[in-house]
């Protein structure tokens, strides 16, 4: 009975994917649709990849630090990281534009040096970093927490400095958890619409282009890009999660 209920719920959750086969007429993939669509794929992949590098490079040391913190200090860091996660995306986009535009302190400084933080690649990447960082760091903290501290202490007693312990013991044992954290960050960033549409309408990534196509040409013009979008966003995180689950049950 319970299994049947679970199966029913799982099917209900997967049901929207069946719309990929909906009879909405021939999909439109004319040059008018195709060229901006492919450009948006390039924008999303390249700029999200850059954002992920920044997230990993800055977020991993922070996660390693938080994982070593006492409970009270950890709460402070986690509370701070939750803010960009909990902010409604549109609100985040507006706040970001104001803070990094002429009305914000850093924005004025950037403008002084001729750097505009709106409707360009840096604004796109920075927005994605803001959107994804909290997810990655909190996930990475959980992954690093899962490594038994006694293994790290034992490695230190065997003569390894803290840095070498991190790279030879902590990181290898946490790698799958870190991959899951990164995959969540990736999905969150590559699929971000609400904040990006405010901060970086141009260069248009896939979510913004999907919205533009939907408004301009209707559903048949959206479907090809939607398939590409799902193919780019879903498989890697899905695989990371499945592997992590398999390992935790092994």
């Amino acid at each position: 009975m319970a299994r049947a209920g679970a199966a029913l719920l799982a099917l209900a959750l997967l049901y929207p994917l069946s719309a990929l086969f909906a009879r909405i007429g021939a999909w439109q993939w004319s040059a008018q649709v195709r060229e901006p669509a492919l450009a948006s794929v390039r924008v999303s992949l390249v700029l999200t990849a850059i954002a992920m590098v920044i997230v990993v490079v800055l977020g991993t040391p922070m996660a390693a630090y938080i994982a070593r913190c006492g409970a009270k200090e950890r709460l402070v860091w986690q509370a701070a990281l939750l803010v960009p996660i909990l902010l409604p995306p549109l609100a985040l986009g507006i706040l970001f534009t104001l803070a990094f535009g002429p009305f914000g302190g850093i924005g004025r400084l950037l403008q002084h040096y001729g750097v505009a933080m709106t409707n360009n690649a840096p604004a796109f990447v920075a927005t994605q970093v803001y959107v994804a960082m909290g997810y990655y760091v909190l996930g990475a903290v959980a992954a690093l927490d899962a490594v038994p501290s006694m293994l790290q202490k034992q490695a230190a007693l065997l003569g390894l400095t803290p840095t070498r312990v991190f790279f030879r013991v902590t990181l290898p044992l946490a790698r799958l958890g870190l991959a899951v954290a990164l995959s969540i960050a990736w999905v969150r960033a590559v699929g971000e619409f609400g904040a990006v549409v405010v901060t970086a309408y141009y260069p248009s990534g896939m979510p913004v282009q999907l919205w533009v196509d939907l408004q301009s040409y209707g559903l048949p013009a959206v479907m090809p890009l939607l398939v590409i979008f799902l193919a780019v966003a879903l498989p890697l995180p899905w695989l990371a999660h499945v592997l992590a689950q398999r390992r935790s049950h092994a």
Partner: protein, 235 residues
């Protein structure tokens, strides 16, 4: 020479401990479960920091201030051998040894001795995550001894092993302790294990306090408390 005198507050009582242990000497730390024996070893190893006092090993000051673990050069083996599951048995045993150290003929011979004596050859390239509990204890022992530490701390590392294996491991440890000359502090709640492992000297703890120290013969002939008498009595 290990020279230690420290206290460590625990939730239910304070552990007070002092000790001088010469090179090659061994000490059995005896007492019922939960009296602070493991806390003593954890403080000496650096897993926990004492609240006050001092711990020196030769010229090296362990505490205060707490010396980072990687500078302590001690062996520490617990009930859980804490093998690195992502590495092979071989890589676990040579963990922490530099390439130069591993290439050193004397070191290589020593590791080969450990490998043969602890019957590790069939497991040598197996992942550490795939070996049995008894095998893991042997690997943990080999890993601890591979660096030839001057001080070895054993926190009930033989719990749950069959008596034959325990006898073999103890005989190996005693043999190497004499040959290499490392000092040894072993914790156990079983007197027969400790008398075989550390026949020279024993210290008895109750509620964090040392209630008796001396030879095992002294302890057996005049136990300081009824609890100690019952712990020493055969089943």
């Amino acid at each position: 020479m290990l020279d230690a005198h420290f206290t460590k507050r625990r939730r239910d009582f304070t552990v007070s401990f002092s000790l001088k242990l010469g090179p090659g000497e061994s000490l059995g730390l005896f007492g019922a479960s939960g009296v602070g024996k493991s806390t003593v070893l954890a403080c000496i190893a650096g897993i926990e920091d004492p609240d006050d006092g001092y711990i020196d090993l030769g010229d090296v000051h362990f505490f205060p201030p707490p010396l980072p673990l990687h500078r302590r050069s001690i062996g520490y083996l617990t009930q859980e051998p804490s093998l690195f599951p992502h590495l092979s048995v071989r890589d676990n045993i040579t963990f922490g040894l530099s390439k130069i150290e591993q290439a050193d003929p004397e070191r290589a011979e020593w590791i080969a001795t450990l490998k043969n004596r602890l019957k590790l050859a069939p497991l040598w390239n197996a992942p550490a995550s795939r070996i049995s509990g008894g095998q893991a204890r042997r690997v943990g022992l080999a890993r601890m001894l591979a660096r030839r530490p001057p001080l070895v701390l054993l926190d009930e590392p033989f719990v749950g092993l069959d008596r034959q294996l325990v006898r073999e491991l103890i005989d190996d440890l005693v043999f190497w302790s004499r040959n290499i000359g490392f000092s040894m502090i072993a914790v156990d709640h079983r007197a027969d294990v400790l008398t075989r492992l550390c026949p020279q000297m024993a210290v008895v703890l109750e509620q964090g306090q040392v209630i008796q120290r001396g030879s095992w013969a002294d302890l057996c002939s005049a136990p300081a408390t009824p609890l100690l008498q019952s712990l020493l009595a055969p089943l």
